[in-house]
Point group: C2
Chain length 457, copies 2
C-alpha cells in the first residue's frame, strides 16, 4: 500500500479545465498541497492545465504512473480501469458513484472487481472523494478539506461525514495523518486499510465512520489487530432500523443491527462514539492522552456547577471520584486561606481564591501528587485574568498521568494560543464540561478494553 | 420585578479599586455595557473610581437606589442587607457564597431570608455572579460574558454552567434578553423569575439550568404557566446518584431523582436537554423556528452520509421521513438530469449536480411545495462554490414551515456572514448533522407537548 499512499507519480484521467469540475479540483488539491511527485493530467480536451502539459490518454504518458485517479463517469471509468490494468498500473481511485448503490450500476461494479482481481489493482472507492495523505502531502482528493498534519487517520464510508469529523478535529486543534474515503469498498475494504495502518508510522490513532460492511468477520479481525497496537474509535450509524434502506442506496452496504456491531466493537477493543462530534472528541482524547493507571479521578475548579455536570457524566462512564485525604484538604485550606467559606473535597472547588493563578497552581501541584489516576481541571475564562498555562505545563512535565482542561465561557477564537501550547504538551482543552467528561470517558473505555483483552503490559 | 431588571440607579456596596476584585469588575460591567441610570460606588476606601465619586456608606447616597449589589463577604453582607431594608431599598443582589451550602453559613442564610421578608426585598442570590439585562444594558454582574442582545432568557443555578451555555449560544449566533444567576434562591426562586418572564416582552424563549429545588410544586406550576406561552427548555443535572452530594455543597439544593424531574418537566410542557450544548441547541431551535404542523420531514442534500446520520437521530426523535410522490421524483430527475446515476427519494440526494446552486435551488423550491411539515437542508462547504443563500432566503419567504440548514466541513469562522443572513431570516444553521437533527427533535418535542396540553390553538 506504500505506493498507493506515497506514489512517485499520479495521473488524473478525465481532468477538465472548468473551475467547478471534480477533476480540476483534484488537480488543484495535488498542487496546493505541494505534491512532490510527478503529476500527469490526462485529457484530450486541453493542451495544458495549470502550466502542466496534458496527455490525450494513458498510453501517451512518459512512464507508468504509480497511481491513477479516474475522474470520468461511472460507465467510462470501467474502461479506463481496464486500460490501467493492461498497462501494469497497480493503484487507482474511482470517484464516480452509480454502482452497487444504484440499480443498473450493480453489474458495472462486478466488472470493476473482476478487472482489479485480474491485474492486482488496489482500488480506492468507487463513489469517493478520494483520499488525502495529509502528513505526506499527497491529495488525490476532489473536494475542500481544512485540516493540518497530525497523527489521526480517518477512514470514512461517507465523504460528507468524513469531512465533518475532519473539520471538527481541525476546530479541536487536532491534525490528520491520512483521510480515506473508502466509498463502496469494492476492492480495498476497511480491513485492508486497517491492516496497513497497523505499521504506518505516521498514524498514532485511528477513527472510523461506518455505515455497514458485508465481510463482518474480516472487518472485526482487522479492527482487533489494529486496536491491539493503536487506539481505534468508531462511529457506526444505525440507531433506527429504517436507516438500513438509506445506507443501501448510499454506499450499497447493509447497516445491520447496531447492537450486533456494538458487541463486536467491544470484542475487538474498539471504543464507540455516537455522533460525528463524539468521534472527534474520542480521537482527540485517545491521540493526546496517556492511558490512566486506574479510574480514580480528581476535579479542580473555582466554579462548582461545571464540575457537577462533568461529574454526572463521569460517574456513568465508570470513573470514581474519591474523597481527598485529610492531609490534602488541610494543605489546600492553608493555600486558599482558612477563612474562605467552602467545604473542600473532590471535586475541589476553591471558589473565589481559585481564580488567582498563584493559588490555582500550588493546589494543582499538590493534587497531582495525591493518589489519583487522572485529572480534570476547570478554568473560567476572564480576559483580565491570566490562564495559568505556564504553571500547568511545568506541573505536567512532572507527571505521566492524564490531565484534561476545560475552559469555560470561551472558545478557541479567544484562547487559540493558550490552547495550542497546552495541547502541544499533551493537555487537551475542551470548552464544555460534557466534552471534557466524554474525553475522559473514552480514555477509560480504551484502558478497560485493553485490560480485558490482555493488551496491557 | 421591573425595578430589579431596569433600575434607575444602582449602588455597589464594597466595591474596590483592585482590577481583579469582584466589585471592580461589577462596576466595569455596568459602565462598559452602557448602563443609562445612576451608578453609586459605595466604599470608604476610595474617593472616586473610574471618575465616579464614591460614597462611604449607603446613608450618604443622594437618593434611595433602586438596586443594591452587595459585594462584601458573607458575614458583612447580612448587615448591609439589613441597612438596605431599613432605608427602603427593594432590590438587592448578594454575590458572596458561604451560606446554606456551607456548614456555619446556614444560620446566616436564615437571617437573610428574615430580613428580606421583613422589608419586602427582592433578592438575587446569594452565591451568584449577579444578573445581566442584556437587552436593556444593565449588568450588575461581576464576571466576563461574551454575548449579544437577543430574545433568549437564561436562568442558571450555576454561574459557570450559565456562562458556558451563554457562550455556546453566542457561538451559535444567538443572543440573550436576560442572564440570571439564581444562586441559592433564598428569596427569589426559579418560579419568581419565570412568572416575570411570562409577560417580559424582551423574552421569546427561556432556558434553565437546574441543579435542584425544594419547592417542586411551585417550580413546576410556574414552569407550566411559562411554557404555555413561551418555549422553555431545561437542562437538569443528575444522571448519577452521587451528584446530589456535590450539588448540595454547591447551591445547597437537593438534585433529586432525575426521572421524577423529567416526568414533571413533560407534564409542565418543558423540553429537556441532556447537556449544556444540547440546551444551547434547543434554545436556538425554539427561538428561531416556527412550530411544524406535523412530523413529516424532508431532507435535501448532495452528500448522502450526513443525511443518513441525521435521519438516524430524527427517526428516534419521532420524525417521519415519508417517500416522495412520483410527481416530485420525476420533476427532480428533470432538474438534475436523467443520466445522473442515483435513486431519488427522501432523503433527496442529488449527488454531484446538487452542488450547483442552479440545481439545488429549484429542487428546494419544488420540495417546499410538497406536503412536508419541515425541512433539513444540507450543504457541503467548498470555498469555490457559492452557498445558495439568496435563493434559500427567497424560498423561505414563501413558506411558514420550519427550515434548518446544516453546513458541512466548515465552521462559523468561514461562513459567518452567510450564517448571519440565514439566521436573521429564521433559518438556523448548524455544522454537524446531529445538531441539525437535535434542533428538529426539540421542535417536534415542543409541538407535541403543546398538543397534549391543549395549548395549540
Amino acid at each position: 500500500m506504500e505506493d498507493l499512499f506515497n506514489p512517485s507519480s499520479v495521473a488524473l484521467v478525465g481532468v477538465r479545465g472548468e473551475q467547478l469540475s471534480v477533476g480540476f479540483n483534484a488537480l488543484l488539491n495535488l498542487v496546493h498541497h505541494s505534491y512532490q511527485g510527478r503529476i500527469y493530467p490526462v485529457t484530450p480536451r486541453h493542451e495544458e492545465l495549470l502550466g502542466m502539459p496534458c496527455y490525450p490518454d494513458l498510453a501517451s504518458l512518459p512512464e507508468v504512473p504509480d497511481l491513477v485517479m479516474i475522474l470520468v463517469n461511472h460507465r467510462r471509468a470501467v474502461d479506463v480501469l481496464e486500460a490501467c490494468g493492461s498497462m501494469g498500473i497497480k493503484n487507482a481511485v474511482i470517484v464516480a458513484g452509480g454502482y452497487k448503490e444504484y440499480g443498473e450500476g450493480r453489474e458495472l461494479e462486478v466488472r470493476i472487481k473482476g478487472i482489479c482481481q485480474k491485474y492486482g489493482i488496489r482500488l480506492v472507492g468507487p463513489n469517493t472523494l478520494g483520499f488525502a495523505n495529509v502528513k505526506g502531502g499527497v491529495w488525490p482528493f476532489f473536494w475542500h478539506m481544512k485540516t493540518k498534519p497530525g497523527s489521526v487517520a480517518l477512514l470514512s464510508q461517507s465523504g460528507g461525514v468524513g469531512l465533518t469529523v475532519a473539520h471538527l478535529l481541525y476546530e479541536e486543534g487536532v491534525g490528520l495523518s491520512k483521510w480515506i474515503g473508502v466509498g463502496n469498498r469494492t476492492v480495498l475494504e476497511f480491513a485492508d486499510y486497517m491492516e496497513y495502518l497497523v505499521t504506518d508510522h505516521e498514524t498514532r490513532t485511528v477513527g472510523l465512520f461506518v455505515e455497514g460492511t458485508e465481510d463482518g468477520r474480516r472487518f472485526f479481525q482487522a479492527s482487533r489487530r489494529l486496536a491491539a497496537v493503536k487506539p481505534v474509535a468508531v462511529y457506526k450509524v444505525g440507531e433506527a432500523e429504517e436507516v438500513d434502506r438509506a445506507a443501501q442506496t448510499h454506499t450499497g452496504s447493509l447497516a445491520g443491527s447496531k447492537s450486533v456491531y456494538s458487541g463486536a466493537f467491544r470484542q475487538a477493543g474498539v471504543v464507540e462514539a455516537s455522533s460525528p462530534r463524539e468521534l472527534a472528541i474520542a480521537l482527540k482524547s485517545l491521540d493526546m492522552l496517556p492511558l490512566p493507571g486506574g479510574n480514580r479521578l480528581c476535579l479542580l475548579t473555582f466554579t462548582a456547577g461545571p464540575s457537577i455536570v462533568a461529574m454526572d457524566k463521569l460517574l456513568s462512564l465508570g470513573w470514581k471520584i474519591p474523597s481527598l485525604s485529610d492531609g490534602a484538604r488541610e494543605e489546600i485550606y492553608r493555600i486558599i486561606g482558612e477563612k474562605t467559606p467552602v467545604d473542600i473535597d473532590n471535586p475541589v472547588d476553591m471558589t473565589g481564591p481559585g481564580f488567582l493563578p498563584e493559588v490555582y497552581a500550588p493546589v494543582a501541584r499538590l493534587l497531582l501528587k495525591e493518589p489519583f489516576d487522572a485529572y480534570l481541571f476547570f478554568w473560567g475564562f476572564n480576559p483580565n485574568v491570566r490562564i495559568p498555562v505556564e504553571e500547568l505545563l511545568i506541573l505536567k512535565g512532572d507527571t505521566k498521568k492524564p490531565v484534561v482542561m476545560v475552559l469555560l465561557g470561551v472558545g478557541s477564537r479567544e484562547v487559540e494560543e493558550e490552547r495550542e501550547r497546552l495541547q502541544e504538551r499533551g493537555i487537551p482543552v475542551f470548552f464544555t464540561p460534557e466534552d471534557g467528561a466524554r474525553a475522559l470517558g473514552f480514555l477509560l473505555a480504551r484502558r478497560r478494553l485493553m485490560e480485558v483483552r490482555g493488551w496491557l503490559t
